[in-house]
């Protein structure tokens, strides 16, 4: 098994120490930092996404796999600075909307997007629209990803979109929404650019909507 295959397996199995060790060994053997992403981390997290979608993996398995992936990316990321070849695919400002404290789903989406090569600005939970707008400006984000788990709070997604419009930023970003009570139709009705049914769905969506210039 190649070191990439081993690393993929370690991530899928959620073995963070093994993932770190394999990454370090690979670097010592002369593998370029950016090569790990397309050859190990991204395919591993895609596989995790597939298993999640097929009900093979549940929240705990996904979280430990994401933790293992993060073990590898934490080592690699500092080595990538200034390397043109590994510019992030896009920058995503992510958060759970105001009034809602649900964290887990949003974290899974953030970790999967990160493993897929996006730069993540995670604002946490109960995030007011103004804070979202500010972060978009500050980080020149091209995506805003919003999560809500309650039917009573999902309406606050609309408030974020309105705040982006008011700040003149709406055409600068793609707005992705997700969460258990949402539907595709509802997402469109509030003017979102896309609805992620689950975490792998959100990653697919983000990949599809990546602006050509980014």
């Amino acid at each position: 098994m190649s070191i990439f295959e081993e690393l993929q397996q370690a991530i899928i199995d959620g073995k963070a120490p093994a993932a770190k060790e394999l990454t370090e060994r690979g670097l010592k053997e002369g593998i370029k930092p950016h090569e790990f992403f397309p050859k190990a981390i991204i395919p591993a997290m895609d596989e995790v996404g597939r298993r999640m979608r097929d009900c093979e993996f549940f929240i705990p398995e996904v979280l430990i796999a994401a933790r293992a992936a993060r073990g590898a990316t934490d080592i690699l990321r500092p080595l990538l600075q200034g390397d043109e070849a590994v510019k992030p695919v896009g920058t995503v400002v992510i958060g759970t909307v105001k009034g809602d404290l649900h964290d887990i789903g949003k974290n899974i989406v953030a970790m999967m997007l990160e493993s897929a090569g996006f730069r993540i600005v995670d604002l946490g939970v109960d995030v007011p629209p103004e804070k979202m707008v500010e972060a978009v400006k500050q980080h020149q984000a091209n995506f805003v990803a919003l999560s809500a788990l309650l039917t009573t709070t999902m309406v606050n997604m609309k408030a974020v979109i309105e705040a982006l419009v008011a700040a003149g930023l709406r055409d600068k970003v793609k707005v992705l929404v997700g969460g258990a009570p949402l539907t595709d139709a509802w997402a469109h009705s509030i003017g979102a650019d896309g609805y992620g049914k689950d975490a792998p769905g959100a990653v697919e969506l983000a990949r599809r909507l990546v602006p050509a210039s980014a």
């Binding site: 009900c55 309650l150 009573t152």
Partner: protein, 521 residues
């Protein structure tokens, strides 16, 4: 010629287990007012006493005029209370109401003897606007339906009280006091307090105290215009139904650490002893009530309510509720689609699962207690791994055709189980309680759930002998309140001072513990 009652009731959601052939007793009704003929099929299925009391098989009745009936079918889901209790006699009649999100129960009491004179139950009429508190809040706040919900529930409880007086033969009699208990959302809807603050973080009531009304102010025409008290909330979504439960289970009188858990879409948890109590609610979701489960249903006719690996000796569950009588078990045939090799696992020497079906008819679905049992059985057989996944990657497990358990059903149960288990764990940690000497399970689901199965899946991770089904403690507590209104008028200021509400969702460790608890033991 008249209209077949079956047609009328079917439209209302009443089920006919034998298909309306008069071969079972599943659709029996009690005629309260009006006339319904008894035919031969009914004489075969009903005793002369039952017929005398007005019981009929709905499928065999043809109605010629107005008829007022009571449905037997819903009873399995609604838990009343007939626990004896100590009280200081007072004069007059009293009414206790448990205003549940799903069900309503009201009892009329003779306050001089403590005797229950009449009981009436109903499904909460607000349920058409959402099954759980969050969807109802959505309707109230975002679709501006709160006033509508208020009118509905006030009218419905008013009618229940009329019905109580009628059943007791005391129509027009004066009632001394009426006590209502319910969770915070029900409190706000009934009392007409804006529910908007409950719809988002921090989910705290602005006005959760004792509310007192004259009956006439609620639109009820009752002799003597009695006072109606909605007892105070404890904080967050934890309402006076839990306060009543604390009173009924006497949690504040224990030296040892004890607990009270009410398993519903919002699971309420209380942990502590006479030194003080912590309470919290945890969003368990609707899995225990059968929603979001592929073949999930209410605990009514056709629901698999119990799953065991051998014919159970202890007839814990019967459709009669408390009256335990051995019912013939439907042998759910088959069972295990994953042949288990002998000797590979000592615990897997069973090859059959047995399913008990409410009403003994054809299985149609799975209710909460059946779901917990099925998963416990699957874990025991090795069909389900501790991660919650079917061990051989199958998509579903046939329990008793056509009812199967799917992979997604297990995931839904894991979410519900983890929310409750994490809540119990965190409250115990905060209280410094290493063990609980007793855990009371309140409510209908707590009454029907198998304690060994609840332990097996890690939902109620305590030895069954320390877990006690406490019944409808909300109703019992409301009745107790009728006898202690003189001191503080029902505000329970002293008691509430000893109960602290914990907002679990704001506890940073909650999500970690929740994730840990997703797996099965």
């Amino acid at each position: 010629m008249g209209t077949p009652l079956r047609d009328l009731l079917f439209e209302q959601g009443v089920e006919f287990p034998c298909g309306g052939q008069g071969r079972c007793r599943g659709c029996r009704i009690r005629v309260l007012e009006g006339k319904a003929e008894v035919n031969r099929a009914q004489r075969e299925r009903l005793s002369p006493e039952e017929i005398e009391e007005g019981w009929r098989l709905a499928c065999q009745c043809v109605v010629e005029g107005d008829l007022e009936i009571e449905l037997r079918q819903w009873d399995s889901a609604i838990l009343v209370d007939d626990t004896p209790f100590a009280f200081r006699p007072r004069q007059g009649l009293g009414v206790a109401v448990d205003l549940g999100t799903t069900t309503l129960v009201a009892q009329l009491l003779d306050l001089s003897t403590g005797k229950v004179m009449a009981v009436s139950t109903a499904l909460n009429a607000q349920a058409r606007y959402g099954a759980d508190v969050m969807s109802r809040l959505h309707f109230a706040v975002l679709e501006r339906g709160q006033h509508q919900l208020e009118i509905l529930i006030r009218q419905q409880i008013g009618a229940l009280i009329e019905q109580l007086l009628f059943s007791a033969g005391r129509l027009g009699a004066e009632i001394a006091d009426i006590v209502v208990v319910g969770n915070t959302v029900m409190h706000h809807f009934f009392c007409g307090i804006a529910a908007e603050p409950l719809a988002h973080y921090p989910f705290e009531p602005v006005e959760g105290g004792l509310k007192t009304f004259r009956s006439s102010a609620l639109g009820w025409k009752l002799a003597g215009d009695p006072l109606v008290r909605f007892l105070p909330c404890l904080g967050g979504f934890v309402g006076s139904d839990t306060l009543a439960g604390i009173l009924a289970a006497k949690l504040l009188e224990h030296d040892d650490m004890v607990g009270l858990v009410d398993l519903g879409t919002n699971g309420e948890i209380v942990i502590g002893n006479k030194e003080g109590l912590l309470c919290a609610s945890t969003a368990a979701g609707p899995a225990f009530e059968g929603a979001k489960i592929s073949m999930g249903m209410r605990a009514s006719t056709g629901a698999i309510s119990q799953v065991t690996l051998s014919p159970p000796l202890d007839p814990l569950l019967t459709e009669e509720g408390s009256k335990a009588s051995p019912l013939p078990l439907e042998e759910g045939t088959k069972v295990n689609p994953f042949p288990i090799e002998e000797g590979t696992n000592e615990r897997c020497n069973h090859t059959r699962v047995f399913c008990r079906v409410i009403g003994d008819g054809t299985p149609r679905g799975l209710c909460g207690s059946g779901l917990v049992d099925a998963v416990a059985a699957g874990l025991e057989l090795g069909v389900i791994a501790t991660s919650g996944r079917f061990s051989k990657g199958e998509a579903s497990w046939m329990l008793a055709p056509p009812v199967a358990l799917t992979q997604n059903d297990i995931r839904e149960l894991q979410l519900a189980k983890a929310a409750v288990a994490a809540g119990i764990k965190l409250l115990m940690q905060r209280k410094g309680a290493k063990e609980l000497s007793r855990l009371y399970l309140a409510g209908a689901f707590g009454n029907y759930i198998d304690r060994a199965s609840a332990q097996r899946i890690g939902l109620i991770d305590f030895p069954p002998e320390r877990v006690e089904a406490a019944g409808n403690t909300a109703l019992l507590g409301a009745k107790l309140a009728l006898f202690s209104l003189d001191s503080e008028g029902g505000s329970y200021t002293e008691v509430r001072r000893r109960i602290e509400h914990v907002a679990l969702n704001a506890d940073p460790s909650f999500q970690d513990v929740f994730v840990e608890e997703l797996a099965f033991p």
